[in-house]
């Protein structure tokens, strides 16, 4: 298989709404390589979520082309190419953490004999070992979000799509989860698409930062990061980091999103 994981060419998406068409994506061109950590950043309404949903076959583009692992998004979905982590953990309150992680396995018809081992493995990846029998309401918000990441990892998709997964968490928990996510990414070699509003978060996590601008939603800059794969939290004070952050900020300004 080629190293192209997500390939978008001239992607367009217009929503028909009661008050006229909304141009959510216009002429989006992007290519994501295997093992990339791609962040999408931009002001509200610039189409970050829409782009991720197109990749996940949750929205149909109105123009252009997109392939995921060389297939159409619908085929990729059926081939279990990706796991999607939503902004809210969305765990079922009537299932334990283990039960929630088994949910996609049950739906996909993965043999029952494998479930226990898979659950144990992904719980370890997100550092939730020992919480299998707990119910979601017994966990903090950060732990719930980790459980939802574990669920997205449980069926071995090699792409992880995350839409502001830590948006509702406080800064300290966020830092910790970001560090863990980087560790997880290094260990598993997955390709990650990550939507965020935070410039430091985007720079800290990514190998590639996609800066977007609204009305119509489009990509205005794609920044390749040359930070080392090993990133302690204090890398955020290094000049390289600050230079990248500045470039992102300038890109956002140029897209006159924040004025």
């Amino acid at each position: 298989m080629s190293s192209q994981v997500i390939q978008a060419r001239g992607l367009d998406l217009t929503f028909r709404t009661a008050d006229g068409p909304v141009h959510a994506l216009k002429d989006v061109n992007l290519s994501v390589q295997r093992g990339d950590f791609v962040s999408f950043i931009g002001p509200s309404g610039c189409g970050k979520t829409t782009f991720l949903r197109v990749v996940a076959d949750l929205e149909q583009p109105t123009g252009g082309e997109i392939t995921v692992n060389g297939m159409s998004p619908a085929e990729a979905r059926r081939a279990r190419a990706y796991g999607y982590v939503f902004q809210a953990a969305g765990l079922y309150p009537w299932r334990t953490i283990g039960g929630n992680i088994r949910l996609p396995l049950e739906i996909m018809g993965i043999p029952r004999a494998e479930h226990a081992a898979r659950v144990a493995r992904v719980l370890e990846l997100v550092e939730l070992t020992g919480f299998e029998k707990k119910y979601p309401w017994q966990l903090s918000g950060g732990m719930q979000q980790r459980a939802s990441i574990a669920r997205a990892l449980s069926f071995d998709a090699d792409i992880l799509l995350m839409d502001e997964p830590f948006g509702a968490l406080d800064e300290i928990v966020r830092d910790k989860l970001n560090e863990e996510l980087l560790g997880l990414w290094r260990r598993t070699g997955k390709t990650i698409g990550f939507v965020t509003h935070s410039i430091p978060e985007a720079v800290y996590l990514s190998t590639k930062i996609v800066v977007m601008s609204p009305r119509p939603g489009r990509i205005i800059d794609v920044i390749e990061s040359d930070l080392p794969a090993e990133r302690p939290l204090d890398i955020r004070e290094s000049p390289e980091f600050l230079a990248l952050a500045r470039r992102v900020r300038d890109g956002l300004r140029a897209g006159h999103g924040y004025d």
Binding site: R53, A56, D57, L58, R77, R78, R80, Y82, G83, Y84, F86, Q87, A88, G90, Y92, P93, W94, R95, T96, L103, P104, E106, I107, M108, Y135, W137, F155
Partner: protein, 287 residues
């Protein structure tokens, strides 16, 4: 334990008001009789009389209690005068009607949630069905059913079912639709089938709604059974007790039937609440 005092206070005020109203409402009859007998009633004698009449307009609480005691504890429950026997007659129709109504309600809800055509075509009829004044048409339904050979328990249960399916449909539709867009999208990313979406998400998510509507439905089913008993005459049940009580001005019989019905309704709702708690606890959803 903190609520004991307020609860008792309300109860005492309620009972006191009841006694007061009994005096006010029953006094004309007491005075009437005294006048015909040519005697003069003192205030205490008047009060005592209003609380001890045989056919009072409003019986005093202790009279109703005595009547209920007399017709439950002091009689064989197989006796046709036993309130327990009447309760059983009404309750058996209630159970049958409730079971039919709940099953129908759940089935309709599943259909409505899964088919837009059904949503648009059936839902208006369901709502229209509840605007029919059932009290007015119940005798007609009973007579119609009687003519096609359906009578007794089944006819009463039909009215119960007719009344009780409605809250179940409404509650269950709401429950089955309670999963949000995100949860449905999530299942879509796992390529879940419609049956899986139903079994894994919609159905469990609807449980709290189902039980809430079942509580309403069971109380209405009891009312339906009583309504169904009114036109059938004296074949037993709370409804027939109320009817014969009102024929002969036996207010005590009416009131004890009312008390019996209220106790039954409370017990049924409580029972469903108990099942609800057990089920939701087993599902891990107890809060």
């Amino acid at each position: 334990m903190k609520c004991v005092v307020p609860v008792l206070t309300v109860l005492v005020v309620f009972v006191a008001l009841w006694y007061a109203f009994a005096v006010v409402l029953n006094a004309p009859w007491a005075r009437d009789r005294a006048e015909r007998a040519g005697t003069e009633l003192s205030f205490t004698a008047l009060v005592a009389d209003t609380w001890a009449q045989e056919k009072p307009l409003l019986p005093a609480p202790h009279q109703i209690a005595a009547e209920v005691w007399h017709t439950t504890a002091e009689m064989r429950i197989t006796s046709k005068r036993s309130l327990v026997w009447h309760a059983w007659v009404t309750l058996s129709a209630t159970f049958a009607g409730f079971a039919m109504g709940a099953a129908l309600g759940i089935l309709l809800a599943v259909g409505i949630v899964h088919s837009r055509v059904m949503d648009l075509s059936v839902m208006p009829w369901i709502i229209a069905s509840q605007t029919v004044p059932i009290l007015a048409v119940a005798p007609m339904i009973i007579v119609v059913l009687y003519n096609i050979g359906v009578q007794g328990l089944v006819a009463k249960a039909a009215i119960s079912a007719y009344l009780s399916f409605f809250p179940v449909v409404v509650g269950m539709v709401k429950g089955l639709r309670s999963p949000d867009r995100m949860q449905l999208d999530q299942l879509h990313t796992w390529s879940a089938s419609r049956t899986q979406v139903f079994g894994k998400l919609r159905l469990p998510a609807s449980m709290p709604y189902l039980f809430t509507s079942l509580k309403v439905a069971v109380a209405i089913a009891l009312v339906g059974a009583i309504i169904g008993e009114l036109p059938t005459g004296a074949q037993g049940g709370f409804g027939s007790r109320m009817l014969s009580g009102s024929y002969y001005g036996q207010t005590l019989i009416i009131w004890s039937a009312l008390v019996g019905a209220a106790v039954c309704a409370g017990a049924l709702v409580g029972l469903i609440g108990l099942v609800q708690r057990l089920v939701l606890k087993r599902m891990g959803m107890a809060t």
